[in-house]
Structures are given as structure tokens and as C-alpha cells.
Symmetry: C2
């Protein structure tokens, strides 16, 4: 059911996806989806959550401390996103965020809590929240430009080229001079 | 009619907006909108175009050459976007891009032709297109984080603080070491 839901949200967006269609794709009764997930919003949350496990996604990235963190973080995310393609939960979340208020809130919470929460352990400092939101801005922009809008040549550039170009940005937002 | 259309696309998104509703808001007959703009896609294009005049928007920004271009470009856009708020055509375009294929194409074309076209006169070089798309990625991410998802404290930060933090990124993508 969740795989069918992710496909539906990816292919048709939040507004276009329907509980009935997901049920048909998954070969179950719509009542079963309503029983387990409530409404479409509940199904959306459930479809996004289990595969966005930031602990697993980011395992080891923060352990080595702030040096080179920008590159490790960016490379990890790019490899995961490139492999998952349009079905990556983060990409679906960014796509959905602009068309639907609940997704906007989900993305805001994800960026604020998950990125900021993790970074604050490494960064601290009074400008930690601004640093985290700057990292978020470049990451969201990269998802949009590479996977959603597909601006070339960034969309087809190899991971190494993207890391070489963008990692210094992430690293400066994390630990460099920002004001 | 175009003001009503921009309001409708801003408030309800591309999918939620309707020609009939725009006609009611503008106090005209829906047939008049169909006569002038064809369908909803035509109305959307017309609503976006006249106020996204890149020549006017970017007047003077490129004249002084590549030094400090990142800061001039970023400051000009931030001032315009902050003033226009959610009704800024670029912000509507980014919001719409993810929910609707025609808008995705519009945004891709806008970023590729307008940003790249203008930058190539300043940059040249074999990596000009990659540089332009990197600038696009940070600009789109800034629009998303500051105006659409509203990640704090970036969403409320003064223009000077955002310029201080982000202009070095834009300048490096334009003229610095990227690989």
C-alpha cells in the first residue's frame, strides 16, 4: 500500500493522487487504507515517513566532525537521490511542499528539526539555526534544479562534479564566514 | 484580468485556480478570458510574462562586470522578491513548477535562457552552462526556503544578512573555482 501510495504521489502529485486509486493499485479495498491511515493526509505522512529515516540515511556522516562535513553530507544525499530517482521521499516531499500546505509544514519541520537538530550537535553557536537554514536552501535548490526542474547540465552532471562545485557552499554555510 | 489571475495562481496554485473564478474576480465573462488567452495554460503564461521582464529587473546588474556580480544580482532579486511577497511572478513560477509540467518547462526555460543567456555574455568559457545552473540551484533554493517553505531564521533575516551569507556562493558559482 505504501509503495503504491509513493508511486501515486510521485506520478500525480498530492492533489492528483486519490485513496481509491492507491487502493486499486495495491489490490486492496479503499476501506482498508482508510482504516489504517485515516485520510489522504495520513496516507501521505505514512508514505513519506518510513523511508525518510534520517538516522539511517545520515549514518556516519556526522561522526568525523565538522571538517569535510559539507562534502560527506552532500555526497551521501546525492548518491541516495540519484539511485531513488523521482521516487525518493525527499524529492516527493519537496515537490509536494509547494502545492499543499500540509507538505509545506512537513518539509519545514523536516528541515528545521532533522537538519538543524543534527547540525546543532556539530555546530552550536548563536548562528546555528541560520547556518542550518542556509544548508537547507542549497539542498532544496539542488533537489529542485537536478531532479524536479532538471536544469542542464546540472541535472546530468556526475556526482563528483556536483560535489566539487557545491560541497564548498555547504561547508561554508556549516563552519565558514557567513556574515 | 491578469491581476486576478496572478492572485488566483498565488492563492490556489495552478491546479486549484479556474478560469471561471478568475473571471468572477475580475468582473468579466469567462468567454472574454477564453477569447484573449485561450485556456488556463495561456492565462498562466500571460499572467507570468509581463511582470517577469528580466531586462528591467536586472537593469545595471551586469554592466559593472564580473566583480561583485554575485552580490549585485542577489541583492536586486531579494529586494524585488521581498517587496512583491507571494505575488512575485518568480515565486509563483517556482511554486507552480513542481505541480504542473507546463510550469516546469517555463521555469526550466526561464532559468536556462534568461539566466544562462545573460551570464554567458559575462562568463563565456566551456563551463558557463554549469555555472549558470549552479546559480539557478541556489536561487531556486532561496526562493523555496525564504518565501515558499519559510524556513526560519532565513525567512525573516534582513536582506543584508542574506546577501552576506549567500552572495559569496553566487560569486563562486559565477567566477570562482567549481571543480
Amino acid at each position: 500500500m505504501l509503495a503504491a501510495a509513493r508511486r501515486a504521489f510521485t506520478d500525480r502529485g498530492y492533489i492528483g493522487a486519490s485513496v481509491r486509486q492507491v487502493a486499486t493499485d495495491a489490490g486492496v479495498d479503499p476501506g482498508m487504507i482508510r482504516h489504517w491511515f485515516g485520510d489522504k493526509a495520513g496516507l501521505f505522512r505514512a508514505a513519506m515517513e518510513p523511508t525518510v529515516d534520517p538516522d539511517e540515511l545520515l549514518a556516519g556522516v556526522f561522526d568525523a566532525g565538522p571538517d569535510g562535513l559539507g562534502e560527506r553530507l552532500l555526497r551521501r544525499l546525492l548518491v541516495v537521490w540519484d539511485a531513488a530517482g523521482a521516487h525518493s521521499p525527499m524529492i516527493i516531499l519537496v515537490r509536494s511542499a509547494v502545492s499543499h500546505e500540509e507538505s509545506t509544514l512537513l518539509l519545514r519541520t523536516f528541515v528545521s528539526e532533522q537538519i538543524l537538530g543534527r547540525l546543532s550537535g556539530v555546530l552550536g553557536g548563536p548562528d546555528g539555526a541560520l547556518r542550518a537554514s542556509l544548508v537547507g536552501s542549497q539542498m532544496i535548490g539542488l533537489v529542485m534544479a537536478r531532479y524536479v526542474v532538471r536544469v542542464e547540465p546540472l541535472a546530468s552532471a556526475p556526482v563528483d562534479a556536483v560535489v566539487a562545485a557545491v560541497a564548498p557552499t555547504i561547508q561554508r554555510y556549516l563552519t565558514g564566514e557567513i556574515g
